[in-house]
């Protein structure tokens, strides 16, 4: 009896010591991913924890990006942010100003850095202590592409002129009742759509030191005028275009590749569809790359937690993880080596709609970094809407927008 008790005690002690010996580091990760995206992230976290038994990744869904941003800002003010989180570039600027973030460049090997597409390096590089350094790592990335109805279009347009011509040809009143039943193109007046055409016309939003807004330049006028031309053959609505595209009311539209699953389910049983590289504009055919990055907080976290978070962030951009992530979610792989791997090519062969977004990633551009970018893009969006609704001429609207941006958001920044 005594022997049994002793054994029990020893076993208990052994377990106790073992438990004490490997104290787990808990890393909370705030994100905005839902459903299939959340499942993929959960899977990757559990995979990571298998190989890192001393790390516990705690994923916390914090609502949409808007909610997540509000919550992160409040948490940073309270000195209690999570260890890591998804973040857009303008939030990153704010968190850097608060001295709350850990720049990740020193932790990333040279060969990994050179394997990340240039546009993504640009979007994750910030000025810290007057030096440019990689602060965050790319996470859920999507590119602007052209969605088109394959029942109506054999060869998608490759230039702006072809796009306009095709949009015109595909705008028809089928039953002759004087109302258009099928539009060649679709326009949802959100700022990024205008910025896309603006960039392809050769525009840049700010001057070098971000003291002037150049949205009312020649490129701005060119882009607005072209969009006005397109609007004649477009369904213009503020809702997402995947619905009308799926039902066949809209033959083409330019949108984020994140919309692929919505287009797929809305088009099912109605018509075939595919994505294509964006029609090339007067200056270039580059595509806007959107989506968040991952940052690690130093504020209110321990060094062990930061190190563990860095490990997980590095794992998420590893070739295996980013390929899995891309296949499961529809976002883009963030490694050049994955894009050119045979596995990816095989996947593309089965999923042709994923080809164009991947190509666009290598020809991508991103928003400039400014803490007020969220408000600035809204001003641009308003100008875009005013022109589309005929309330202002392109010159008027863009002059007004540039003035508001300069006086309200650029000067105030200091």
């Amino acid at each position: 009896m005594r022997k049994f008790a002793l054994t029990l005690l020893l076993v208990g002690l052994a377990f106790g010591i073992a438990a004490l010996g490997t104290p787990k580091v808990t890393v909370t990760f705030w994100h905005a991913m839902t459903k299939a995206h959340k499942d993929a992230l959960t899977y990757l976290a559990s995979k990571f924890m298998e190989t890192h038994p001393d790390i516990q990744i705690k994923l916390v869904y914090q609502g949409h990006y808007g909610d997540l941003s509000q919550k992160l800002l409040a948490a940073v003010l309270a000195g209690k942010p999570p260890v890591m989180a998804q973040m857009y570039e303008d939030w990153t600027v704010k968190f850097l100003d608060a001295g709350a973030l850990l720049p990740l460049e020193p932790y990333i090997p040279e060969d990994v850095l050179s394997d990340i597409p240039q546009s993504l390096i640009t979007s994750n590089t910030f000025v810290v202590n007057e030096e440019k350094t990689l602060v965050t790592l790319p996470f859920n990335k999507s590119a602007m592409v052209l969605f088109y109805n394959t029942d109506l279009i054999d060869k998608p347009p490759t230039t702006w002129d072809e796009l306009l011509e095709m949009a015109k040809a595909l705008t028809v009143d089928k039953d002759g009742d004087g109302k258009i039943d099928q539009y060649g193109f679709g326009i949802r007046p959100y700022p990024e759509l205008f910025i896309e055409f603006f960039h392809q016309a050769g525009g840049v939003i700010f001057n070098e030191d971000m003291t002037k807004c150049l949205i009312n330049s020649e490129a701005g006028i060119t882009a607005m005028n072209f969009l006005l031309q397109l609007k004649k053959y477009s369904l213009y609505q503020s809702g997402y275009l995947s619905g009308p595209f799926g039902s066949g009311r809209v033959a083409m539209y330019v949108g984020s590749s994140a919309g692929i699953p919505f287009v797929a389910s809305a088009s099912a049983g109605h018509h075939g569809w595919n994505t294509a590289a964006l029609p090339v504009g007067p200056a270039n055919g580059e595509s806007m790359i959107q989506g968040t990055n991952i940052g690690v907080f130093t504020l209110g976290t321990t060094e062990e937690q930061q190190e563990a978070a860095v490990e997980f962030a590095k794992y998420l951009i590893s070739p295996e993880a980013t390929r899995y992530w891309a296949i499961k979610t529809g976002y883009l792989p963030v490694r050049i080596s994955v894009l050119s791997s045979p596995e990816w090519e095989e996947y593309i062969a089965q999923h042709p709609e994923r080809k164009a977004p991947t190509e666009m990633l290598l020809k991508g551009f991103v928003y400039p970094h400014h803490a007020n970018m969220y408000n600035i893009r809204q001003v641009i969006g308003t100008a875009f809407e005013e022109v589309m609704l005929g309330k202002k001429t392109p010159q008027q609207a863009l002059d007004d927008a540039a003035k508001i941006i300069e006086t309200k958001y650029l000067k105030a920044q200091g």
């Binding site: 839902t34 509000q70 999507s142 995947s242 039902s247 949108g255 994140a258 809305a266």
Partner: protein
């Protein structure tokens, strides 16, 4: 004379017909969003946004409900919503009655200043208070991710106090004099005379609170971190994604989320009518 009677009846009928037509039109306008929600809840994704619209699904697509239910731990969310809404409603009704009585029927130093200060807080938009409130909850009280954070700050509402105070003011002071002669104290008078007479007002306060609490989104999202503590509206948000909205499952989940409110409304509607008839008989 007889002819006049006939004309009167005809006029009366035309009048009633007009009233009914108006009411029916109003009903259609009110019911339509509900109809559309339920119809969409049963449609597969490729039937939702058609032009011309499809009024009814081609077949009942129950999968939306299964998808919606499985998309988040809705069982827990429903429990939390119920619990939080019930406790805050009971709490608010209790505190509101006390405060409203004090403001309506008692005299004390600085009463008007205090009341105006109370009303002043209604002018501050809630969004502006979110960050300071977060700091209080997170740093001072350490209540993040607890029921305290979801319940305690919502136990008192100035709007409720204001509404009920106005209601209490309409009750004649003679009742209080009579009660006092019979040896009744303020507390007993409040609960046995004022409260029963103010049922419609109290029901309104309770209904507003319950609906408000049931629908609360931002506060719950900001103050909680785990599925354990979240409520139904946070669950509904997951169907809206970066590049589109899954209307089918969203409408299915909304239908499920709306049922308790609808039941509550049917229930309190009876209370409303009772309360109104009661006060109507009095005057």
């Amino acid at each position: 004379m007889k002819k006049e009677g006939k004309v009167y009846i005809l006029q009366r009928r035309a009048y009633l017909l007009g009233i009914y037509v108006l009411l029916i039109l109003g009903t259609i306008v009110m019911i339509f969003p509900f109809f559309w929600m339920i119809s969409t809840a049963f449609k597969p994704a490729n039937e939702i946004q058609l032009m011309p619209p499809k009024w009814l699904p081609s077949r009942f697509y129950w999968q939306n409900f299964a998808d919606a239910w499985n998309a988040a731990p809705f069982g827990r969310y429903f429990f939390n919503s119920f619990f939080v809404a019930t406790v805050t409603t009971i709490g608010e009704v209790f505190f509101t009655i006390l405060a409203a009585y004090a403001f309506a029927k008692m005299d004390f130093l600085g009463k008007n200043v205090l009341f105006i200060a109370f009303l002043g807080t209604m002018m501050i938009p809630g969004e502006m208070l979110l960050v300071p409130n977060y700091l209080t909850i997170a740093r001072t009280l350490h209540w993040l991710d607890t029921y305290y954070a979801l319940i305690v700050p919502w136990l008192v509402s100035v709007f409720g106090i204001f509404l009920l105070r106005q209601f209490f003011l309409t009750i004649p002071d003679e009742l209080w004099d009579a009660a006092r002669i019979d040896g009744c104290g303020r507390f007993r008078y409040l609960w046995t005379v004022m409260v029963p007479l103010s049922r419609p007002g109290i029901a309104t306060v309770a209904l507003f609170k319950f609906i408000g609490s049931w629908n609360a989104f931002l506060w719950v999202l900001i103050m909680t971190n785990s599925d354990r503590m979240r409520t139904v509206p946070v669950g509904l948000a997951i169907f809206r994604a970066e590049a589109g909205t899954e209307y089918g499952p969203l409408m299915a989940a909304s239908t499920m989320a709306m049922l308790p409110i609808l039941l509550l409304f049917f229930f309190t509607q009876k209370q409303f009518i009772q309360g109104i008839t009661r006060s109507g008989l009095k005057s």
